[in-house]
């Protein structure tokens, strides 16, 4: 089986995503974890690009890297008591949770390999972004409004919880 250039790109991006993800959970320094998390988010955004979901790739970079990763870096620096590597980062159940995670991965891969998934993608319509916009104001208008209210409530609540008293 010959490997096409697209598959090479996919393998490189997967190695980037999973390697950065592993460093996020294994790094002893919390600040380094936050920086590896940015690398992992970037790899996921590139995978979205490979899946021809351009809008999602840009939204991933804007929201995850631009907003969530920045928030996490701020929270890391505001609670800096534990980021200096003096303490053990893992708790008493880290061994058993590693075993659980590896067993779950084995189970998922076992189940995945028993199904014959499509190997060739169907052609993509030209104007996906317009279709997403139409879907938001027609079929998914109620969930869209609920999510916007949820975001507003969450942000007001976050300000109320975190402000000085």
């Amino acid at each position: 089986m010959a490997i096409t250039p697209q598959q090479v790109v996919f393998i490189l991006l997967s190695v980037l995503t999973l390697g950065c993800g592993l460093m996020v959970v294994l790094s002893r320094n919390l600040f380094h974890s936050a920086l590896w998390l940015v690398g992992s988010f970037f790899g996921v955004a590139a995978l979205y690009g490979l899946l021809e979901a351009e809008f999602l790739a840009v939204a991933q970079i804007l929201i995850y890297i631009g907003a969530i990763a920045t928030l996490i870096v701020f929270a890391t620096m505001l609670t800096r008591g534990m980021m200096l590597g003096r303490m053990k980062m893992s708790n008493f159940q880290s061994g058993i949770s590693g075993v659980v995670a590896i067993l779950l991965l084995g189970l998922l891969v076992l189940v995945l390999l028993q199904v014959s998934w499509p190997t060739e993608a169907l052609p993509v319509p030209d104007d996906t972004i317009a279709m997403i916009g139409n879907a938001f104001v027609s079929a998914y208008v109620i969930p869209f409004e609920v999510v916007s209210v949820l975001l507003l409530v969450a942000l007001v609540g976050a300000i109320m919880i975190a402000r000085e008293r």
Partner: protein, 102 residues
Amino acid sequence: MVPLSWYLIVAAALFCIGLYGALSRRNAVAVLMGIELILNAININLIAFNRYITPEEVSGQVFSIFVLAVAAAEAAVGLALIIGIYRTRDSVNLEELDLLKG
């Protein structure tokens, strides 16, 4: 063309990495990072299924945008809680937060 199963395996691996991070860390911020990895893995699955099975509809991408919005709300509230706890207890070590334990 990349087979769909490759995407699913990468997403499963990312999910398990995030699960390990969420279960094994003792710092609350690190647990939140694990949860973000899990949500990213779910989004990869949604978009890959959308691309390979029904590309003429965009329901997978719409759902992953909802996941993105909920993840943003979750990160904001979670980090606000962590900062509030740090202010009152001077620690974000989850093993020391046993106020509700009988």
